[in-house]
């Protein structure tokens, strides 16, 4: 596969794979990203991965031409092993009407009933490709085509943190209160980003998530447990 290495301004380098969303590319990117961070720690300040790219942000003291050449030859010669992380994080979601503002839009658009929406949404194990947009926001792929629904015509000014939505072919969770144009189908009581936690993000690129339907009573119970610090996050290995 053709990988390109090019400058991205004065102090950054982009490593690009052909534009695509798939498991092979994502896993290769995560593995190479880990290797780059280990090998070039004295030249870089941080890296950001997306679907088909790694942005390498360099220290001001790093010499662009040297880094370009070093990364180019690194990409050619290094074939890191696939990452071992196959963590599945279970995300409880209450799909009841008090949270699911737009679940009927999603159902009607796709000629489904609400319970179909819930079972189709909770069925897959979604890979987390990367975080971006808002602190802690996971870009996941794998939403069932039967749930694809266009964004709202006019975005809402305030969506509560934890809201689970569908926007076009994407599904995701709002980590904080924010404006948003996605169709809201439920809410999770679990914080995806909490600055007082170390690390503040619940998910990392390479994780998988599995939504689990919960009742309003369980939603409230989990909220209480989180508040009391007794909540145990359910995870598994894929």
């Amino acid at each position: 596969m053709k990988i390109t290495v090019q400058p991205f301004g004065e102090h950054a380098i982009l490593i690009d794979w052909p534009a695509t969303v798939n498991d092979t590319v994502s896993q290769e990117i995560l593995a190479i990203n880990t290797a780059i961070n280990a090998t070039f720690s004295s030249e870089l300040i941080e890296t950001v991965t997306t679907y088909h790219s790694i942005a390498v942000y360099l220290k001001e003291t790093a010499i662009m031409q040297n880094c370009l050449e070093a990364l180019e030859s690194f990409i050619k010669t290094d074939t890191p092993e696939t990452l071992i992380n196959k963590r599945v994080v279970f995300i409880p979601v209450c799909y009841e009407d008090c949270f699911a503002l737009d679940i009927s839009i999603v159902a009607e658009k796709n000629e489904l009933v609400k319970t179909d929406v819930i079972s189709l949404h909770t069925a897959p194990v979604y890979p987390v490709r990367f975080l971006g947009f808002l602190p802690g926001f996971p870009y996941v792929s794998g939403l069932d085509e039967r749930l694809h629904t266009p964004r709202l015509k006019s975005p809402r000014l305030q969506i509560p943190a934890g809201s689970v939505g569908i926007g076009g072919s994407q599904t995701g969770i709002y980590p904080s209160n924010s404006p948003g144009g996605w169709n809201i189908i439920g809410q999770t009581p679990i914080p995806l980003f909490n600055i007082t936690n170390d690390p503040p993000n619940l998910l990392v690129a390479g994780d998988f998530i599995k939504f689990e339907s919960i009742s309003l009573a369980v939603f409230e119970e989990i909220k209480q447990k989180i508040k009391a610090g007794t909540f145990q996050l359910k995870t598994a290995s894929l």
Binding site: G9, H11, A19, T50, A205
Partner: protein, 280 residues
């Protein structure tokens, strides 16, 4: 200690929240790093020390301890008690002194450094205020700003100072990763046209209207950074600034040089700029 009598539009900023962009946390930090660095240099701080950044309207401050300060950036008028003070110089303040700033004649952002820096909340390795990350997103009237936290002081002589020249209309850029998406006419327009800074510009993005509707293919979400110029389907240009998101879904047609990013931070709404692509 410094008591904030009037806040203006101010926040504490340092060199940014490095190392957390992979979890979606914006870089933040001073918009005009050159001017902020100069303010720190004048009082003897290291260049990464936290300063007060103010935009269009400066704060009014009551000093509750003797200290040394410096103000740089836009040409704010400074009045210490009743005495006019120059920018870009070291100013001695005493307990009870009140500093006022009048609107800048030229430029848009000012920087106030205090010897020893500000002893304010550190979150993820940075004092830069950002709503949702730090407790406060901006400085408010009545706030108390504690001084201290930086011990290394190296005072330089005033002759070696080098303020940023931000009068030039020219914004130096590199071609961005999706520059090739543009048709020849748009490429030509980009370099020939004069663009006006939109009122809706802030620490997240400087907005510019003017390319007209443009047709291009959709892209997948990609990495963006301060200085990335995104092109929206309506032809608007979004020049991402320090509080920008870490990823975005619009083509990245240009990337500003670091110096251009500092200059742009000093451009006022309705001011005109032109792009010059490096190497052309």
């Amino acid at each position: 200690m410094i008591r904030v009598l009037k806040a203006g539009i101010s926040s504490i900023q340092d060199s940014g929240r490095v190392g957390f962009r992979a979890i979606g946390v914006p870089l933040s930090g001073v918009m005009d790093a050159h001017s902020a660095g100069l303010a720190n240099q004048l009082v003897g701080n290291t260049s990464a020390t936290a300063v007060i950044e103010f935009t269009a309207m400066g704060p009014t401050l009551l000093f509750e301890s003797d200290t040394l300060i410096a103000i740089t950036g836009a040409s704010f008028g400074l009045i210490l008690n009743d005495e006019v003070k120059p920018i870009n110089t070291l100013v001695q303040v005493k307990v009870g002194d009140i500093l006022k700033c009048t609107s800048p004649k030229n430029g848009w952002r000012g920087y106030l450094a205090v010897q020893g820096g500000f002893d304010s909340q550190v979150v993820l390795g940075s004092k830069s205020m950002y709503q949702g990350i730090t407790e406060k997103g901006r400085i408010d009237k009545g706030d108390i700003l504690r001084i201290g936290g930086t011990s290394e002081i190296i005072i330089v002589d005033n002759e070696s100072i080098n303020p940023l020249d931000f009068d030039s209309k020219i914004i130096q850029v590199f071609k961005g990763p999706e520059y090739g998406f543009l048709d020849e006419k748009t490429k030509e327009n980009l370099e020939k046209a004069s663009f006006k800074i939109h009122q809706n510009s802030n620490r997240m993005a400087t907005q510019i209207d003017g390319l007209g509707e443009v047709k291009f293919k959709d892209i997948l979400t990609v990495s963006v950074q301060p200085g990335t110029v995104q092109l929206t389907p309506s032809g608007k240009l979004l020049i991402l600034m320090k509080d920008a998101q870490t990823t975005g879904g619009y083509p990245r047609i240009l990337q500003l040089t670091n110096k251009a990013l500092n200059i742009l931070a000093q451009k006022r709404p309705n001011e005109a700029v032109t792009f010059k692509i490096a190497g052309n």
